[in-house]
Amino acid sequence: MEPPETREDARTDIRRAPAGNARRGLTAHARRLLDAVEHLVSGLATALLAFAGLLWLVLVALTCLIGVGLLLAPTVPRVVRSVAERERDRLSRWGPEIVRLGPAPDGVRAALADRAVRREVGWLLVHSTLGLFLSLSGLTMVANSVQDVTYPLWWRMLPPDDVTPGLVFWDVRAPGGVLAVALFGVGLAVCFLLLGPGMAWAQAWPGRRLLTPTADMDLSLRVAQLSATRAAALDAHAAELRRIERSLHDGAQNRLVAVTVLLGAAHRALAQNRPGAEEMLERAQETAEQALAELRTVVRSILPPVLSDRGLTDALSGLAANCAVPCRVDIDASGRCAVSIEATAYFVVAEALTNISRHSGARHATVTVRRAGGLLSLRVEDDGVGGADERHGSGLTGMRSRIEAHDGRLTLSSPPGGPTILDVELPCGL
């Protein structure tokens, strides 16, 4: 996806285009031109779909008169919605995002009552006619200007009785006729340069007006989005509880059962004066110590005490000091974030450092932490062999779901041969 600044540029370009701006230079012109062509081409695709949708709408409306159409009527809102969703995707690629609405309401009555569907039908009418016309005329201008400008180079190869190119009404065999075609091509190109971006903008305008959610729908969509992220957060929470339950069961609980078994056996041996009791007691004690060690690990993995006592900086320094690979820590993040954010940051770094010492073969690692503009940014780098892949090994997947539960972002760059760079952004409030 394009970064937002570029998108902003593209939009202002199109608005200012008719006025022209000589200072912007040749490359800016060229880019604007290419953007306009690209938008008109993609607009042509959705306009053709919209045209097909319009034909279907008219066909169903006409057959309704003889009854058959009534059976087909429920398909119309779905067809209209699917075409509109494509246009939403298209417009989102080079302007402010237009959220998809998802499936159309079932049934004709519900669809007619839905304001979004009515607005979509309105858009369909405009885009399938005016939108189609804009795309076709704009692209005709482009095609003809290319053809005409290059015309002097190849017109001799044409059959003599059919040499006049499209849109040209004079006799090219007259003196200067061919040159006139080339000049006409240049004229067309200039026209497109002046009009093209405006045409692309005009073609997109009905979509931007009619396909964006209205204020009330906007809220309901946001509720839906929030519900989805909330569900994801709860899922992550449940997964975390499962992990804790599993590690308690497989670790400390089993160790303690083994202790009771060993103690029971030792008890019997002592009662019956059999040998081996001392060895069993020895093993029971060792096992109990293991259980304690495992409990400590689990407790630390729930919320490391150092994190709540001393804060992220100290906690991360501690992690780096314990890392098998020499690790430099560079933290410039004053103040405390929410506990859950700090815990996530801690586990991401812990997991990353574990991966580095296990798989990377690195000689140095660096952990950088910055806090700015409501974002906590983490970067973990190493000079190892690279080739880390999210699909292999669940550590990275777990990391990602943990981060996304907080609405954060994770990017991993790990080409074969290294270096591996893990970038994480967590929103942490101002």
Partner: protein
């Protein structure tokens, strides 16, 4: 008595094997997965299988499925299921097909070696062994029922021990009363719960569990 053990935690597996061997029982194989367990049952034809409920790959109820499959392959195989938790659903699933040669115990009971060996022998001899915790849970959940409310505290104790699979003699030992008194209590329990009296241990357990299940369903 030839025994096969299926338990995925190596330490615990070897601990149980050590304990049983110290009691001069014949542990013929110890296995850590359902597949290895079934293979060992096929090869060694043991008398008793001791099976952990949670085993790989999903660590949920593989042990129960493996126990059921082992009994299908070798009818008459006694199975003692060990579990880290009391899960009534496991118990009913396991006991649904009959309670002969079946036990369901919490793992830590193994440490009470005397009682554990009792349960093991009882199951091997064709009886039943249900963990007191399971029985207690069943009784708690049905406390509101009028039939059980009519029982005296002593009769409740007897019922719980019966449900564990103990015979009259064992019950009288645990409760420090005469066998005759136990007999009287049991007749009274059956009368209050409207069950035909019988002395065979497994049928008594079946009767008790069926009755408890039914009252649960009604409640």
């Amino acid at each position: 008595m030839r025994i096969v053990i299926a338990e995925d935690d190596p330490l615990l597996r070897e601990g149980v094997a050590l304990l049983l061997r110290a009691e001069s029982l014949d542990v013929v194989a110890t296995t850590g997965s359902p597949d290895a367990f079934l293979q060992a049952v096929d090869v060694h034809r043991p008398d008793v299988a001791i099976v952990d409920v949670r085993m790989p790959p999903t660590h949920t109820t593989e042990g129960i499925a493996a126990a059921v499959e082992a009994r299908r392959r070798q009818p008459g195989l006694a199975v003692l299921v060990l579990s880290a938790y009391v899960e009534q659903a496991f118990a009913t699933e396991l006991l649904a097909a009959g309670t002969d040669r079946l036990g369901y115990l919490l793992k830590e009971r193994v440490g009470r070696v005397g009682q554990f060996l009792d349960a093991l022998h009882r199951v091997a001899a064709g009886g039943t062994a249900i963990d007191p915790e399971v029985v207690a849970q069943l009784l708690t959940r049905t406390r509101s029922d009028s039939g059980l409310e009519r029982l005296t505290a002593r009769e409740r104790d007897v019922l719980a021990l019966m449900a564990e699979g103990l015979g009259n003699a064992a019950i009288s030992e645990r409760l420090f009363v005469s066998e005759g008194a136990v007999h009287k209590h049991i007749r009274s329990i059956f009368a209050k719960l409207d069950l035909a009296p019988t002395d065979r241990a497994d049928r008594r357990v079946t009767a008790v569990l069926r009755y408890l299940e039914e009252t649960q369903r009604r409640g």
